[in-house]
Symmetry: C2
Subunit: 317 residues, 2 copies
């Protein structure tokens, strides 16, 4: 059996998984990232330790793998190996690949987490068999991964493919990136929660208040759950959110004309309610969509595992 | 001397040019398109005739060329050779390549005009030597051409790269494509003229009225010319327009991270006034632009010839 290994370096946790030939994660390890309290070197040490422990579960060491792949929500320069920018850890221009390679007797490849996720979905998930894919992860932010002709595409310098930071509403809500009105500021769970809270303020009669009280907080589910139950204020928020996402997808389809568009991240739990609307609406906004059509928009399949699986196969994409 | 030939099929005119090894158009021919009054076949006959006449000027026939390249503002399917959709001629799914190949004893390649323009600029213009390029033509509409790794990129089915139809203002002004708030509906000359006229209505004191009277009409120059002379209402329109274009460019740079961004089309006549603002502002909107930076934004060099030169080299891109 040929195994592969992927590491997911997130804002809260470091996760490693060993992937078998059937693309199943057969053993896992994890630890807290805790980058705020600890230095870069300590986090690197932990990444290695977590990966080693995962490998040890099946009697392997890291040198037994063709490579060690790492996915992380950051700008990574494939040329220099530098982690150029990470919002989560607040690192700037840290030599992540070099420090890992000092400690690991195998080639280290590092990719943006959303880029790893689309590779994972291509290898073993909802995009298996497709060669041209656009994926959006609708979570705290809006990540995106692009596959062109069977290869991961991350822009000329490897730090692009940031469809979440294309405009949606010029002059609109502030975005985490410092600009205004980016797709991320409306199509993320964060944007959805903001818009849900605003609708709740305007609509004291809405069932969303009881839903939020029951679940302890307003979440990305509040509007969708209540919309499905017929709450009008919730329906308005959910419909508008679907429309935002459809517009973002249509913009990407007008450029990349992929074979399939995948939706991952927390919002994808909204299921058919979301996907039906996206499929119905995106085609109307795609350039010449009434003639050429639009790729089907489907849910990603691997969930949080996509990043680990994709990282483990980065060398092939 | 090895010559090449390119044909530009536009809404008003058919133009053909023979290109020499120094990328100069050494002979030209043209005719009216007049697709409204005439059938598709007649236009095809004229395209062949115009190309033949251009070739005959230097004693060549079309079979002497390695290929005949055609650029046209349409969705072209490279797989089927169909012109799938053209706003100008109102054609749908017409077999343009097949009909041309029946009449021409050389391979025929057809590309979208903006895609041809970026190839032309790469071959012989402002993008010479660059392998990753994004170009916007700001004219009646907003065309765009993308070069990735030295190859023209037009989406998986060859009908994409339509950055003009990515969103800029969700729910905004109607776009020619049927959607609302596309980049094209603000960053085109058409959008600029609309916004100029609106500002003129609000500002009867503006120098733009006298400028328009002098030149016979409100044009894409009205606001820029008057802004440069210090007219405040014009300055507001021109500044806002620059900001729109900067936002559109920044979105594309966050995805493609090109080495250079080119601006062609009528608005590029605004010169340094436009380019200085684009270069200053786009970097502020690019994802992680304060760390990674943004490609320089420069004027295209070949003007209307870019399409012919690019079409002539389509087989190499």
């Amino acid at each position: 059996m040929n195994y592969r290994i992927g590491v997911d370096l997130g804002g809260t946790g470091i996760k490693a998984g060993v992937v078998d030939e059937n693309f199943n994660i057969v053993c896992r390890e994890s630890a807290a990232t805790d980058a705020a309290r600890r230095g870069f070197e300590q986090v690197v040490e932990d990444m290695v330790r977590v990966a080693e422990k995962a490998a040890a579960q099946i009697g392997l060491t890291l040198s037994d793998f063709p490579c060690v792949g790492v996915g992380t929500p950051s700008c990574i320069s494939p040329k220099t190996g530098l982690l150029v920018f990470s919002n989560n850890t607040n690192w700037r221009n840290v030599p992540l690949r070099q420090e890992l390679e000092k400690r690991i007797a195998a080639p280290v490849l590092i990719g943006n987490d959303a880029n790893c996720a689309v590779v994972g979905e291509c290898v073993a998930g909802a995009a298996k068999g497709y060669r041209d894919v656009v994926m959006f992860t609708l979570g705290t932010g809006v990540g995106s991964g692009i596959v062109i002709g069977g290869k991961m595409y991350a822009g000329a310098d490897g730090m692009g493919a940031e469809l979440g930071h294309t405009p949606l509403i010029y002059g609109g809500e502030p975005c985490t990136c410092g600009a205004n009105g980016c797709a991320e500021s409306y199509a993320s769970v964060t944007g959805l929660i903001r818009d849900t809270k605003r609708a709740m303020e305007r609509h004291p009669e809405s069932a969303m208040h009881a839903h939020a009280a029951l679940h302890g907080a307003v979440s990305g589910r509040t509007a969708f759950d209540c919309a499905k139950e017929g709450d009008l204020a919730a329906l308005e928020v959910a419909e508008r959110y679907c429309d935002y996402v459809a517009a973002v997808i249509a913009g990407a389809v007008s450029v990349f004309r992929p074979e399939i568009v995948l939706i991952g991240g927390g919002v994808s739990n909204a299921g058919a309610f979301l996907l039906d609307r996206l499929n119905e609406r995106a085609v109307k906004r795609v350039f010449a969509g009434e003639i050429i059509g639009c790729a089907p928009i489907a849910a990603a399949r691997l969930g949080n595992d996509a990043g680990i699986v994709g990282a483990a196969y980065l060398d092939q994409w």
